[in-house]
């Protein structure tokens, strides 16, 4: 195996130098005249040992430098350029070892020839040969594909992806969607890829609403880049987009401006709100976490679950029919203000101040949540987000929801998806959850119902087949247990102050510096079986990322919302449409 590794190592580019310490994990190479090494180049060298097989040491270039040998003073450079002082330009490259084969940690010897690793030697140096299933992530600086070990993505040996970087230039969501595309289309996951689902929360603009539209700016160079990775440049074939209902619209049409077809609205009925105890997710604000009234929240939620009866779209509590979220809130507040009923709703040991704090918050939520929790829309109209019954990719648009409503949607959706997976009890099919601004939903400090769900996913999701692809501007502000549970860590351009935090300790100093200048499309990916993060560029999206890029809409999106219900279902039976809906 070692010999195979050294049979075709590529051209010699230099020799291990002896003026700096060579260690098994890091060494410097003097670059031969007429050759060059750039950052991220893969090299290989070999150490002969007296009583055993030779050791092949492979690594990547993590720093390069050039200097004048023979110059003593800075100003000597003028004499050298003038042709009066003899000096030699010498380049040297720092190599960080990625693989020692066999695992016998001896330093390379100064003077040993260093080869540029190409072909199999390169794949071996980067551990690609040990990956049974390799998901292409992009190309290295040398233009050759780099791969992700699928074992660390699908839960076999690890799961979850954490992507960090400055908003706007770090292209976090683009990389997350490209990774999904590669997972679904590379064929490396076999049958799993066909059944796997993705749940994407769109938090900014309408960027992710066009995943199923081909990108009109796609050129041949990009197609070739996809082909090099073994992928076809195409849009996501099977996408379903959900958007919240428009404010003040009684028919519940989805609130989107640029994408006009193939968007379904999502909401929860009052019955679901009460029966599924969704009330705690109304109190998921940053300020809410430190308050005393959680006891009231749970007690009211329990009361609603026990006494609320479905009543013609809305609910009926104690004989009062409540048709909207506002009615429900008013009713609860009224009951809590009444000395006679307060004990039933909030429990007996709760102070009036706490109850009032709860009531104030609840009233405050009316404006934000009224359009999501409905009693006036048909109960049986499809309105819930359920990835199992949805398309391969489900996009939930949150971008025009207020903060409290965003938290409510994310919390409730993740909870119901996770509970569904828990009940199924099997890790397959996989569910990829893409969530940006993770620092908002799972901050380092405090606790909230959403954070509990996310922690559950991070810690148990691996065995249940729920893979969290989290993105954030600052990994240092995300709950540590979520970051540490991510097997794959990705970094785009970082803020200088952020880059110095210990969360990025996996980046060697030179890469940490480079992350400050990384251009859009460049990512550093750290995966467990390669000791050095790989720098890669992923191709421009083949799907539209904004309305101006969108090509022709796929035909299935032209169906209207009512057609997505089964027209042949028997009216009045469980799965059919409601009486007051047009059945076809």
């Amino acid at each position: 195996m070692t010999d195979e590794g050294f049979d075709s190592p590529g051209e010699g580019v230099g020799r291990v130098l002896g003026t700096a310490d060579a260690t098994p994990l890091q060494f410097w190479t003097a670059v031969s005249p007429g050759s060059y090494l750039q950052l991220d180049d893969v090299v290989v060298t070999r150490r002969e040992l007296p009583d055993r097989e030779p050791v092949t040491i492979a690594g990547v270039v993590t720093q390069v430098r050039a200097r004048h040998e023979g110059a003593q003073f800075d100003s000597d450079v003028f004499a050298i350029a003038d042709g009066t002082l003899p000096a030699q330009v010498q380049e040297a490259a720092e190599i960080t070892t990625t693989r020692v084969d066999p695992e016998f940690y001896v330093p390379p010897q100064p003077g040993a020839v260093v080869h540029r690793a190409e072909g199999d030697a390169r794949a071996r140096a980067l551990h690609f040969d040990r990956m049974e299933r390799r998901i292409p992530m992009g190309t290295g600086r040398d233009g050759v594909p780099v791969y992700l070990n699928a074992d660390f993505l699908d839960g076999t040996r690890g799961a979850h992806v954490s992507i960090s970087g400055i908003s706007g230039v770090a292209t976090k969501t683009s990389f997350a969607t490209f990774l999904l595309y590669s997972v679904f289309r590379s064929g490396q996951l076999g049958g799993d890829a066909v059944n796997a689902k993705a749940l994407i929360f769109n938090v900014k603009g309408e960027d992710l609403l066009f995943l199923d539209h081909p990108n009109t700016r796609l050129d041949d160079a990009t197609r070739a880049a996809y082909a090099r990775l073994g992928l076809v440049a195409d849009a996501f074939p099977d996408v379903r987009v959900y958007a919240p209902p428009r404010v003040g619209d009684s028919s519940g049409t989805p609130d989107v401006s640029s994408r006009l077809t193939g968007v379904d609205s999502f909401y929860w009925t009052l019955t679901e709100f009460c029966a599924n105890r969704l009330l705690p997710y109304v109190f998921a604000d940053a300020d809410d976490e430190r308050q005393q009234y959680t006891m009231v929240v749970h007690s009211v939620a329990a009361h609603l679950a026990r006494y609320a009866q479905p009543a013609d779209g809305g609910v009926s509590i104690d004989g009062t029919r409540l048709g909207t979220y506002g009615d429900l809130v008013d009713h609860i507040v009224e009951q809590l203000s009444d000395d006679e009923t307060r004990g039933d709703w909030a429990g007996s040991a709760v102070g009036l101040g706490t109850v009032n704090a709860f009531a104030r918050r609840l009233i405050g939520s009316k404006k934000d949540l009224a359009r999501l929790i409905r009693g006036d829309l048909a109960t049986r109209r499809p309105h819930s987000i359920n990835t199992a019954e949805s398309a391969q990719v489900t996009v939930v648009d949150l971008h025009n929801l207020p903060d409290r409503a965003q938290r409510f949607v994310v919390g409730v959706t993740l909870k119901s998806e996770f509970e569904r997976k828990e009940k199924a009890g099997t890790a397959r099919p996989l569910l990829f959850v893409v969530l940006d601004e993770l620092n908002k939903y799972a901050p380092r400090e405090g606790s909230s119902p959403i954070k509990e769900v996310l922690l559950d996913i991070a810690e148990r999701g691996r065995s249940l087949g729920v893979i969290l692809v989290g993105a954030q501007q600052t990994a240092s502000e995300v709950e540590r247990r979520i970051v540490t549970n991510s097997a794959i860590r990705v970094v785009g351009r970082l803020d200088p102050a952020e880059a110095s935090r210990p969360e990025y300790g996996f980046l060697p100093p030179a890469q940490r510096q480079r992350a400050l200048l990384a251009k859009p499309g460049t990512m550093f990916v750290n995966q467990p079986d390669i000791p050095v993060p790989l720098c890669l560029e992923f191709p421009f999206p083949a799907w539209a990322t904004r309305v101006s890029e969108a090509g022709a809409a796929p035909s299935q999106t032209l169906r209207s919302i009512t057609q997505s219900a089964d027209p042949f279902a028997v009216v009045g039976s469980g799965g059919g449409t409601a009486d007051d809906d047009i059945p076809f």
Partner: protein, 322 residues
């Protein structure tokens, strides 16, 4: 030589140190013909001649030497001879002024054991060999360093011949000696130990403005030849500051010597070094200083060689049964 001992003291300790007072300290009695370029009565400073430009390629030759260890031999009869294990190197640097590139065009490193011991043999220390150079006479320690100069000059001559092209100029560090046959070659003498000219002509020399030279004169010493003084760009106003003597082969006609003198005046000043970078500024030319640094690095590490010699001496002693 079966056995030898290496002095534990650092060979640099107590080695002669070159005191170089500015200006000559002794009057030479060599015959001087001063009338070839200008009549002796009419001597004056000569500036750069219009129309003369520096050659595109200037080659500079220099050598360095270092004593790696002082040794003592053990003779069969109980006597002992001192010896020096020395490394020396010569190189030529090719300054391509047109392209702006100075390169080492050739360098040779040699080592030798200099001793008068009749029984001395080559010393092999690790993969380094010190061939024996037998010194004639009694070979007392004080005279041994001078013995290194011969082989070093021979090495300098050897490397000087390489890397020559048409229309270049070869500048040799020190007197020309036996290199007079090389074409377009100047000897460059940094420090003035002897005063060749009489008081009146010397006044012209020490009155030279920077970038000017004296008229060419002919010297009749053992190594006779054409010679002239030149003042390099220098800030100090001391009489001999920045003055160098340049010489060329006596076989040249007077016109050829004058042409070389004019050439030296447009070539050498740009190589002059700056005082804060070089203790021997401005006379120690920048390419020469760079060349010496490169050559010294090629001599190898002195402590390593000293250790190798010590080990070799111990091995030799063990083999001899002590």
């Amino acid at each position: 030589m079966s056995r030898f001992f290496v002095d534990a003291w650092d060979p640099a300790y107590g080695a002669s140190f070159e005191a170089s007072p500015e200006g000559p300290s002794a009057q030479s009695n060599a015959r001087v013909e001063a009338d070839h370029e200008l009549p002796a009565l009419d001597w004056r400073a000569i500036g750069p001649r219009p129309g003369v430009s520096a050659p595109d390629v200037v080659l500079l030759v220099d050598g360095v030497r270092r004593i790696d260890a002082g040794v003592w031999t053990a003779e069969e009869d109980g006597a002992s001879f001192p010896g020096l294990a020395a490394s020396y190197a010569a190189g030529v640097v090719r300054c391509d002024l047109e392209r702006g590139a100075a390169q080492l065009a050739g360098a040779k490193v040699e080592r030798g054991l200099f001793t008068a011991s009749p029984s001395a043999t080559d010393v092999v220390a690790g993969n380094i060999r010190y061939p024996v150079h037998r010194v004639s006479g009694t070979g007392e320690l004080a005279k041994l360093p001078a013995a290194v100069q011969g082989p070093l000059t021979a090495l300098e001559v050897e490397v000087s011949a390489t890397a020559r092209t048409d229309h270049d100029l070869l500048v040799v560090d020190g007197q020309l000696r036996n290199r007079r046959h090389l074409p377009r070659t100047l000897g460059y003498i940094k420090s003035q130990h002897r005063q060749y000219l009489d008081a009146r002509l010397t006044a012209v020399v020490i009155g030279l403005p920077p970038g000017h030279r004296s008229p060419v004169f002919r010297l009749g010493t053992a190594w006779d030849g054409w010679s002239w003084y030149l003042r390099l760009p220098v800030a100090s106003g001391a009489p001999w500051a920045g003055i160098v003597r340049v010489e060329c082969s006596a076989e040249l006609a007077a016109e050829e010597a004058i042409h070389l003198a004019d050439l030296s005046l447009v070539t050498l000043p740009r190589f002059a070094s700056t005082p804060y970078k070089d203790p021997r500024a401005p006379q120690n030319l920048v390419p020469i200083a760079g060349l010496e640094r490169l050559l010294r690095s090629r001599l190898g590490d002195a402590r390593l060689l000293h250790r190798a010699l010590t080990t070799a001496a111990r091995t030799a002693a063990t083999r001899a049964g002590r």
